[in-house]
């Protein structure tokens, strides 16, 4: 009974005119940002973050969440049509989506990825609706020791499962932690790494860091690899989007497996949609009876990852909302919205802010429906948007970033920091250092320190507290497994890479290569 009244409450919030409007706005912006290659969801949300100061927290979250899952819908468009991933989560969609487009089946691919996206998202939302309260109920058993263990696992997972070199991932996590330490320490009031700059007392702004490392760096990279769009308009007419019966038949199970995998990885802090997409692609290829079709336009190769990344988009809200632990940098921004509006994310959130929690979740249905209805007829429009010359698009985006940075703290310091982090981000891209672990280290590092110290006080200095408390011990054991798995799989993929030298590599790092 309670369950249905919650759902009702959620829909009553989500279906208010204001919230539908902002949900639509978020979904639209998200699709837009997703379609533009090189402009990621993090950059988009970072840029729009200051806007949310002036909105109700629920409305603000509904809009940002719309951008968040909207980009994953839109991101597949550029992957398929141009072989340029709109977002990292859609990178793997290039592998079979672009070949499909070259075979004149681009319309089919765009249509089917939209369907897969909707299916994956629905799967995720249902899990979110059913299990978040359960997770939240157990969340009170999470003390400082458990949070520390959880965050340690997130950092380890981020550095080892994230795409590319584990060592580089780890290095970025550490750099992120160091940047996160800037400012006044909350435990001892010691001022660290502030170089006497007053504005740095409150630490480095997450917005400045995210916009610099992602937004600005993406733009510099994209400028270096501009290619003229080469799109066959015939393949985009509405009649060209109907899949064959065989393609529909072969889509069901990959979609279901992708959605399950995506849901699981979404709930783990430190993993998320990109990893879910890559792994579900890898699994589909491994269990397929015809793995040789993959990479040449296999429909399974786009259905599984697109269902996975959208499912993960939704379930990523479980740890974020019920534990107050951001699973990704974007989720950290969502938590920031809550905190700016004085809402403490954590075990009390669902009971103390039911209209926020259920309203947000139910808005996911609204948003996904909007995206479904939006994406299919507008495929042609997105494609035309891709033809806006970069020399007009990018300066406009840069101006947007500067305004956003300034307004995030009303201080010119933030604009300079965006600039500095943009240079850092560019260097990272050139030397193939992933940005996501940096952000995660930045967000999780200081939290880890805080929980570690508190756990130490509460255990009166006994390190065994992390291994004696059952939940903490379990997480620690899992962390060990993740670490071992990371090392093993890195070793394995290195060997595989040596074997397949010379083959075309479509990972996002590879697309960064100036061509």
């Amino acid at each position: 009974m309670d369950f249905f009244s919650n759902i009702g409450l959620g829909f009553s919030v989500a279906l208010s005119l204001t919230n539908i409007f902002y949900c639509f706005l978020g979904a639209l912006l998200g699709t837009l940002v997703g379609v533009i290659p090189g402009l990621g969801v993090l950059a988009a949300i970072s840029m729009l973050f200051p806007l949310t100061f002036h909105l109700e927290p629920t409305t603000a979250l509904i809009m940002l969440a719309g951008i968040w899952y909207g980009t994953t819908y839109g991101g597949s468009t550029a992957s398929i049509l141009l072989n340029l991933p709109g977002t990292p989560a859609n990178a793997v969609t290039c592998l079979d989506g672009y070949p499909m487009a070259k075979q004149g089946r681009g319309g089919v691919a765009l249509f089917m990825t939209t369907v897969a996206s909707f299916f994956g998202a629905s799967f995720g939302i249902i899990l979110l609706t059913l299990f978040t309260p359960v997770i939240a109920e157990y969340a009170l058993q999470f003390g400082s020791a458990e949070y520390f263990a959880l965050m340690l696992m997130g950092l380890v997972a981020a550095s080892t499962i994230s795409e590319g070199s584990a060592i580089k991932g780890l290095a970025m996590v550490v750099l992120g932690i160091i940047i996160g330490l800037v400012g006044m320490d909350t435990q001892s009031a010691t001022i660290r790494y502030s170089f006497g700059i007053l504005g740095l007392l409150e630490g480095v702004s997450l917005i400045a860091l995210a916009m610099g490392v992602f937004g600005v760096a993406e733009i510099i990279m994209s400028v270096r690899r501009v290619k003229t769009a080469d799109i066959d308009p015939e393949s985009l007419k509405l009649k060209a989007i109907k899949p064959s019966r065989d393609e529909v038949r072969r889509s069901w199970f990959p979609m279901l497996r992708g959605a399950s995998m995506g849901s699981f990885f979404g709930t783990l802090p430190g993993t998320g949609p990109s990893i879910a997409a890559f792994l579900s692609y890898a699994i589909e290829k491994r269990i397929s009876r015809t793995p040789e079709r993959f990479g040449k336009g296999a429909i399974e190769g786009i259905m599984a990852p697109e269902a996975a990344n959208n499912a993960a988009d939704q379930t990523a809200f479980i740890p974020t909302l019920s534990l107050g632990v951001p699973g990704s940098a974007t989720m950290a921004l969502m938590l920031g919205v809550l905190m700016i509006h004085g809402v403490a994310p954590g075990p009390n959130l669902i009971s103390s802010q039911p209209e926020l929690f259920w309203g947000l979740i139910m808005s996911f249905w609204v948003g996904n429906l909007i995206l479904l209805l939006l994406n299919i007829p507008l495929i042609g429009v997105w494609v035309r948007m891709l033809t806006i010359p970069y020399h007009i698009l990018f300066p406009a985006v840069l101006a947007f970033i500067c305004i956003g940075a300034f307004t995030s703290g009303f201080s010119p310091l933030n604009v300079w920091m965006v600039f500095a982090f943009g240079v850092l981000g560019y260097l990272m891209r050139v030397f193939r250092f992933p940005g996501a672990p940096l952000l995660l280290g930045f967000v999780l590092g200081p939290l880890m320190e805080e929980h570690f110290r508190r756990a130490m006080v509460l255990s009166r200095g006994d390190f065994m507290t992390f291994f004696e408390r059952p939940i903490s011990a379990t997480i620690m054991a899992l962390t060990g497994l993740v670490l071992i798995w990371g090392v093993v799989s890195a070793e394995r993929s290195r060997k595989r890479q040596l074997l397949s030298e010379g083959e075309v590599d479509h990972t996002p790092e590879a697309t960064d290569r100036p061509t």
């Binding site: 009170l140 001892s188 009031a189 509006h341 403490a344 954590g346 009390n348 009303f410 805080e450």
Partner: protein, 316 residues
């Protein structure tokens, strides 16, 4: 508009020197060194429209949280002393400097106290299922097995309240710092910690549902919101008169006439029935203060908390 206000002020016998009469000549920024929607922020946001009406200028509330309120405080310390940048902060203004020894300003020299607007009371709370029902139980049990106290952060008034309680009662308690009142209350709910000096609004619903119970009100008087809960004064601790006050400050060097004008205007708002009606449900006790009286209070409290920090070994 301004001339009408000035005329009204003159008519009320509040004539000011020229500089103060002209104040404010532009938008006024009030820096709140806490996140939006905290106690202090909410209070300031209720206050601002009344001052806007009196001054005929917009007021911008600028939240600059961090460093236990010292980040926003430092910004005002360096602001132009023309009354157009003001600080509204809590008693952390006097407690935080007792612990943070490397602040880029001197709390006594860098500010002019303008007005002490009021306070909220603290209640010592524990988990509803904890093994103690009274403060005496708690103190006695802590001597057998040491307990944990939560604070809303190092150097906050909740921290000093607990330190003072420990010093006066001899209870064996280790202090654990959390980031804000919310997580501190959660630690009481999850029994991670045993006692917390909470404002009524922080404990909120949990106090009503019995998930959290109140052991004592800090101070010598009981409070209206919890008439059955004893005060620490009744229980034999007369020196635990600790409230979280909220006050307004201007940068040092601000024209005393402007300070007097702002003080008078704020005091007037605090007597407005509609204003009182808005903030009373939030557990506020409002004050009328003079800049001189407030300055003396600040001076005394800075000395008092520094001494406590030294004797409790929490000052670096």
């Amino acid at each position: 508009m301004k001339s009408i206000l000035t005329a009204a002020a003159v008519a009320l016998g509040l004539a000011q020197p020229l500089a103060a009469q002209d104040f404010p000549t532009g938008p006024v920024t009030i820096i709140v060194p806490y996140s939006p929607s905290g106690n202090t922020d909410v209070f300031t946001r209720h206050l601002a429209p009344y001052l806007e009406e009196k001054w005929g200028q917009p007021i911008v509330i600028d939240n600059r949280p961090g460093g236990g309120s010292m980040v926003g405080t430092a910004i005002v310390a360096q602001a132009e002393p023309d009354g157009h940048t003001l600080l509204v902060t809590t008693s952390a203004f006097v407690t935080a400097p007792a612990i943070q020894t490397s602040l880029p300003f001197d709390s006594r020299d860098a500010f002019v106290p303008v007005a002490n607007v009021g306070h909220v009371s603290y209640v010592l709370v524990t988990n509803g299922d904890s093994g103690f029902d009274t403060l005496e139980d708690f103190i006695a049990q802590s001597k057998d097995a040491p307990k944990f106290a939560a604070t809303a952060g190092l150097g906050t008034t909740t921290h000093f309240a607990i330190e003072k309680f420990i010093a006066d009662s001899g209870a064996d308690v280790d202090v654990v710092h959390f980031k804000g009142g919310g997580p501190a209350v959660v630690s009481i709910l999850s029994k991670e910690t045993d006692i917390y000096g909470s404002s009524i609004s922080s404990a909120g619903e949990n106090l009503k549902t019995g998930k959290v119970k109140a052991l004592a009100v800090l101070g010598n008087e009981r409070i209206d919101a919890l008439p059955d809960v004893p005060s620490t004064g009744e229980l034999g601790f007369p020196d635990l008169e600790i409230k979280q006050w909220v006050g307004m400050f201007a940068p040092a060097g601000t024209d005393p006439a402007i300070v007097a004008k702002i003080n008078a205007d704020v005091n007037e708002v605090l007597q407005t029935p509609e204003f009182i009606a808005t903030v009373t449900p939030l557990d506020w006790t409002l004050f009328q203060s003079t800049p001189e009286g407030f300055a003396q209070q600040i001076d005394e409290e800075l000395t008092k908390w520094k001494a406590l920090a030294v004797s409790q070994g929490i000052s670096k």
